[in-house]
């Protein structure tokens, strides 16, 4: 019996092929049932997202199981297995465990640390569970994979730093201001990206929101959408004096916020920082404001630069996550090994204990006058013998399981001690 994963992902298969192979949920259910019925696969989980199609399974012959699973997948879409086959990767046993952990922890994702994949793996597992396609091998594997994913998320920063421009702006604001709660935001101009940035700021507690636009009606419309207040265009300079964060995205050719205007308001702000998020191209805020104290201006290129730095930071953190996963894989395998041999150890112990108790009872029945000391001595003697006899075989079984070679030993022990058939 071997654990394996076979599939293709964004790393080796073109998007065209991936979308062709991807399966929707009701088809997936059918597929799981078909595979279950085949007898080739003991347990199976199929993960199908836009970035990967993978089959996790337990089978006597993983190669055969893989071919069967992907033949089914191809048939759904009227594809030829031969076109898919060369793209497939297969990982066995420890490598399969590692792969499951890495995928769940979003280390194998196109965007490292993206949060969706864990949910998708959970869904795939739940569906397989509903189809009764998971058992003693895949159940612990996936439960552990979810725990490992959570550890990676909380103990490393793979998912910490923003990888979108609008979230990067929110993070920057948090490095300037002592929290965003109660920070006033002014939106100058309307645009999808500035609206998005404003929404993120509001989600982090920014309030109130002001909207200025050359056409007041448009400002009012947007203000309604964001639960803010519209500000007449002429009052823009005064608004600058009171707000903390300004998001600009007008289509103006000339800067809307000049250095002179900002210089004027900074005196009255008593050191309160002013943060410009300038998403417009051409830019709305004069770059000259950069050398004013307490003014921070990020245009779209600056924000992209921050995102790039964040991506590098994530990649560095991913290195740490990999070591964490290595350790978890080793732990999981050790535990699995024990799980395999423990039932045998227990029945071996029970067997010898039965023999011992039977013999002690017989002996004591023949010695009705034995003193309590003698009885205790007989008990102790027999227990000690059983323990001494068991010591070497149990140690050997544990060792063999860690070395991954427990199967033949288990069978041998069962035969020798007539322990009956193993499950």
């Amino acid at each position: 019996m071997a654990l394996f994963v076979a599939g293709l992902s964004h790393k080796n298969a073109p998007v065209g092929l991936r979308e062709q192979l991807a399966v929707e949920e009701d088809k997936l259910r059918e597929l799981l049932q078909d595979l279950q019925a085949s007898d080739v696969l003991r347990e199976v989980v199929v993960l199908s997202t836009c970035n990967r199609v993978e089959v996790y399974g337990v089978a006597e012959a993983p190669g055969e199981a893989r071919a069967l699973a992907f033949r089914h997948l191809c048939r759904h879409r009227g594809m030829d297995l031969a076109t898919v086959e060369p793209m497939l990767y297969t990982h066995l046993e420890a490598d399969a465990v590692r792969h499951a952990f890495r995928v769940s922890a979003s280390l194998d994702s196109m965007m490292i640390g993206e949060p969706q994949i864990l949910g998708q793996v959970k869904d795939a597992f739940a569906l397989a569970q509903a189809c009764e396609a998971v058992g003693p091998h895949l159940h612990p594997l996936f439960s552990q994979a979810f725990k490992v994913a959570k550890r990676v998320r909380t103990e490393t920063e793979v998912a910490r730093h923003a990888v979108s421009v609008s979230f990067a702006a929110v993070e920057l604001a948090k490095k300037i201001f002592d929290g965003l709660a109660g920070r006033a935001v002014l939106l100058v101009g309307a645009g999808e990206m500035s609206e998005l940035a404003a929404k993120h700021l509001v989600e982090h507690g920014a309030f109130p929101i002001y909207v200025a636009n050359r056409t007041l009606a448009r400002a009012q419309e947007l203000a309604r959408a964001l639960a803010g207040t519209a500000v007449p265009w002429e009052e823009l300079p005064t608004a600058l004096a009171t707000v903390d964060i300004v998001v600009t995205s007008t289509g103006a050719v000339e800067p809307v916020v000049t250095r002179a205007a900002v210089t004027r308001v900074m005196h009255g702000r008593r050191g309160r920082p002013l943060f410009f998020i300038d998403i417009a191209v051409p830019r709305d805020v004069e770059a000259g404001v950069d050398d004013l104290d307490d003014v921070y201006r990020y245009d779209i290129d600056d924000l992209k630069q921050v995102v790039d730095a964040n991506l590098r930071e994530r990649a560095r953190e991913a290195q740490r996550a990999e070591t964490l996963i290595e350790r978890e894989v080793a732990k999981f395998l050790a535990r699995q090994g024990d799980v395999e041999v423990i039932p045998t150890i227990v029945s071996l112990r029970d067997r010898l204990e039965d023999i011992r108790l039977g013999e002690v009872r017989k002996t004591l029945a023949r010695l009705p006058d034995a003193s309590p000391e003698t009885r205790a001595a007989i008990e102790a003697l027999s227990s000690a013998m059983v323990n001494k006899i068991l010591h070497a075989p149990i140690t050997k079984l544990r060792e063999s399981s860690r070395a991954g070679a427990s199967r033949s030993w288990l069978e041998l022990v069962h035969e020798l001690f007539a322990l009956g058939r193993r499950a």
Partner: protein, 267 residues
């Protein structure tokens, strides 16, 4: 015994400094935990050393400047660990612990004896204790100023580096420097006034030609100016940070002068 324990404490602080700096680069929880552990181990040795020293002297270990600095260091390490835990600013150690090491080495570099019994009075303990609380506060003031300048620089050049990710927000850092200044200044002031009164009683003049007295007055003037600037002229951020650094430099010179130059405070 006392000397051995002090050396153990300094070794603990040096190890903690190394680990705290490593934590800036390699942000491993384990590295931070080890840094805190090393600092606490040093601090424990330090505590025992100070107790032994008091028993030896039969008085609080504040009679000589090296002893007093040692007590200040002890307070700083305790505060550093506490503030880190309370505020979650785990990089604080990287900025405070190097100063701890510097002060510890400065204090052991010169070792003067106990105070002449004729000069010992309750005033002098209070004078020294207050001044040292002031010094402790200004160490954090200095660390806050450095962190502010680093974070401000990162945000201005728009290329996020290690400090951008590790340091808290500008407003948090500016508040830290303001609060530590507001806390340290009254202690320093009262400490200096008591010193002057005591000097007048002992030598007949409040401002004798003592190097420590001279430099401490200079440091006091700088801090007074910064505080006034903050309170009245709305100074903040970069300018306030620069002044904090200058003030702290004066404070370091003050302590150095007391330790290594002949005068009323030292050898």
């Amino acid at each position: 015994m006392h000397a051995n324990l002090i050396n153990a404490a300094i070794i603990g602080y040096i190890a903690a400094t190394g680990l705290a700096l490593a934590y800036l680069v390699q942000r491993h929880d384990l590295v931070h935990r080890l840094a805190v552990l090393a600092a606490l181990a040093g601090w424990a040795a330090h505590t025992v050393a100070l107790i032994i020293r008091s028993l030896e002297l039969g008085a609080p270990p504040l009679g000589s400047l090296p002893d007093a600095i040692s007590v200040a260091v002890w307070v700083i390490v305790l505060l550093e660990v506490l503030i880190e835990q309370r505020t979650g600013v785990r990089v604080l150690g990287a900025f405070v612990l190097p100063i701890v090491v510097m002060l510890s080495l400065q204090a052991t570099g010169s070792r003067s004896g106990a105070l002449a019994p004729a000069l010992a009075s309750a005033w002098v303990w209070v004078h020294i204790a207050l001044a040292m609380v002031g010094v402790a506060a200004f160490v954090f003031n200095f660390a806050g100023a450095i962190m502010y300048l680093l974070q401000e620089r990162q945000l201005k050049i728009k290329r996020p580096g290690a400090f951008y990710y590790r340091l808290p927000s500008l407003q948090t850092l500016d508040r830290l420097t303001f609060r530590t200044l507001a806390l340290g200044f009254p202690f320093l002031t009262t400490g200096l006034v008591l010193g002057a009164i005591w000097a007048r009683a002992a030598w007949g003049s409040a401002f004798t030609s003592d190097p420590l007295a001279f430099f401490s007055l200079l440091a006091w003037v700088i801090y007074a100016g910064t505080l006034a600037g903050r309170a009245v002229a709305g100074w903040h951020g970069r300018r306030a940070a620069y002044f904090s650094i200058v003030g702290f430099a004066a404070l370091v010179v003050t302590l150095g002068a007391g330790l290594f130059l002949p005068g009323r405070h030292g050898s």
